[in-house]
Symmetry: C2
Subunit: 366 residues, 2 copies
């Protein structure tokens, strides 16, 4: 079967050339006589793989040398605990609750200390990024270990277009669904993490970028599992135990692909164009309603719905017949969501847009 | 290059047919028009994959219905914390320290409660399974939340040939390096876990098999990260967040391969034969010394050394020239280690044995 137009929110579309490379060398990694899947994580060949993945990511994002790059497991959910366990040294942090995953991170942090909600958009159904003015004010007091944001809200289709002003307080960001979608000014953050399964690779790898001085001698809390100690993982180059070797190998290939395609600035340009194609259509539509407020719109996940759930269903089912997959909205909100990560081409977006127009016209003439 | 003889301790050899299947469908999983790597973990196709993996494993091992099967991330190291965080309800557990990983698990548990060493073989360099008599005696008191063992000690080449008698106290076992190598009487255990990267699949998946009644309403300790709650993961069928989808997919294929090859009894027969080939040779040798005591010998990892590190090095380097890889011993102990997991064929073992004989003869004639 030809490849479908894949708008999945994650795991998500990967560059076809990356898959082809992985396929070609799956039984014999570059003359080693074994698969990358069968290779010791301590072998010379794998050491090169993980080092190359890190170096490529450092070039791509421009990661300063006082930041560590870690390749961990357990997804964002494990980091919801890892962040407070490592960083809550005085026991107080601030959370901006801009969506479901930000709320989950805040709830988890409450197990480990005082986690204040500095700003929230829950009252309007997370249709926007919350007001950032109270954040700057609160951070200025200087007693927070960090300020936490979820930079792109996959479910609600919103993203921070400007970062909160945290002064000297470290900013911690879950960038899972916007990582590598545009340039990232690492020095604005104390810690950044991303589940790889959107723009960076397959499920099962979490990339953590963290400033060295925040790690001190070890985690803030004694109950932090050794595996989750950023200090230990940094000291051991993510190899305190066996990492997800195949996942890291694929991430490295995706990083190289992004670099060869022009880097993060080129990705942003493409992603903005893809987003514009869909938002322009939604803003003109009489049948589709975009669900995120214009000033908060994501360039990674475009969310919308029809007037009724029945129409949504008809739209989704017709999409499938046209080889358009993964556009069903998250179960918490319903409707539709088109995730237009780096590996989703403008051609796929154009195919979706054409179908949206077709659907609208057919409904209008009914 | 032809495939080498791969004796890696993990990640380790996988069945060639599993790799071929994965390769064939890497760009299009069974007519879905996308890779398994690109597919939502909530999709119908992936739900079938994870359900089939679990069902196959249940058949293969004979897992009773009151045990859950979980597919988690983070390796054994994360379980070192997960076990006490979930199960230390009265705050006291017993550990049998039979090697490096058992010791690490014990050290981690001490962060969460009283972790007693019930028996240890550290004084003889972990060359044997410790005396189990004190374990039965201590467990009979009835105040331990669990007794913990590492059933096969990868680094030292030892395994438990009989399980400790724990009475009513739940037995918890790290079976990473002997999982699926022989039949397993699940009802003897409260909890079993295994990093997949030896006999079960690729690195990045941890299989946990746990008796439902041990999970109660949730973890014993409030500081347990939500991701690590066995109760939550069991209730959510390992999908409280995005699991390692590709890893689980490959595990399912390995489980099917084991089943098609005759199941666990057939695996044990083969593994015992492979081990016998090497131990017989070691016991006759005048140059190689087997390092594990005979009654404690593993059928997964055969450890040995020569009289000097220089000879070890010469042997390892000659092996590589003959397409024999991964036989260097763990950095803690040096020497050699041949891991002869399910996917390592008798032919590979014979090739190693032939080289050992050749090496011995060449040294004798010197």
């Amino acid at each position: 079967m030809p490849r479908v137009h894949n708008f999945s929110a994650g795991p998500a579309a990967l560059p076809e050339s990356v898959l082809q490379e992985a396929q070609a060398e799956l039984l014999d990694y570059r003359g080693c006589g074994m698969s990358i899947l069968e290779m010791s994580h301590r072998s010379h060949a794998f050491s090169e793989v993980i080092q190359d993945a890190e170096n490529t990511l450092r070039r791509l994002v421009g990661i300063p040398s006082n930041y560590h790059v870690l390749f961990l497991q357990g997804g964002a959910t494990l980091q919801f605990a890892g962040v407070p366990m490592n960083l809550m040294r005085t026991g107080r942090a601030g959370y901006i609750v801009s969506g479901n995953f930000a709320r989950l991170a805040w709830q988890e942090a409450r197990k480990y200390g005082e986690a204040e909600v500095l700003s929230s958009s829950e009252d309007t159904g997370f249709d926007r990024i919350p007001d950032l003015a109270p954040v700057a004010e609160r951070a200025a007091v200087g007693d927070l270990d960090y300020v936490y944001i979820c930079q792109n809200n996959t479910i609600f289709g919103t993203m921070f277009s400007t970062l909160p002003d945290c002064g000297a307080t470290p900013l911690v960001a879950d960038v899972s669904s916007c990582f590598l979608s545009m340039p990232l000014d690492v020095e604005r953050y104390g810690l950044i993490y991303a589940g790889a399964q959107k723009n960076a690779g397959p499920a099962g790898v979490t990339v953590v970028i963290v400033r060295d001085d925040l790690l001190g001698e070890g985690p803030a809390l004694a109950c932090c599992p050794s595996y989750m100690s950023y200090r230990t993982q940094a000291d051991k180059d993510s190899m305190m135990n066996t990492p997800n070797t195949f996942g890291i190998y694929l991430c490295g290939k995706v990083f190289r692909w992004v670099e060869n395609e022009g880097g993060l600035a080129a990705m942003e340009k493409r992603n903005r164009q893809k987003a514009k194609t869909l938002y322009d259509l939604l803003d003109r539509s009489e049948i589709f309603v975009p669900t995120a407020q214009p000033e908060s719109r994501s360039i990674s996940n475009v969310t919308f719905r029809c007037a009724t759930p029945e129409l949504d269903e008809a739209f989704i089912s017709g999409a499938r017949e046209r080889g358009i997959e993964g556009i069903k909205g998250h179960r918490l909100v319903g409707g539709m969501r088109a995730s237009i990560y780096n590996a989703v081409s403008q051609a796929s977006v154009d195919a979706l847009a054409a179908y949206m127009q077709e659907f609208e016209e057919s409904r209008r003439s009914n």
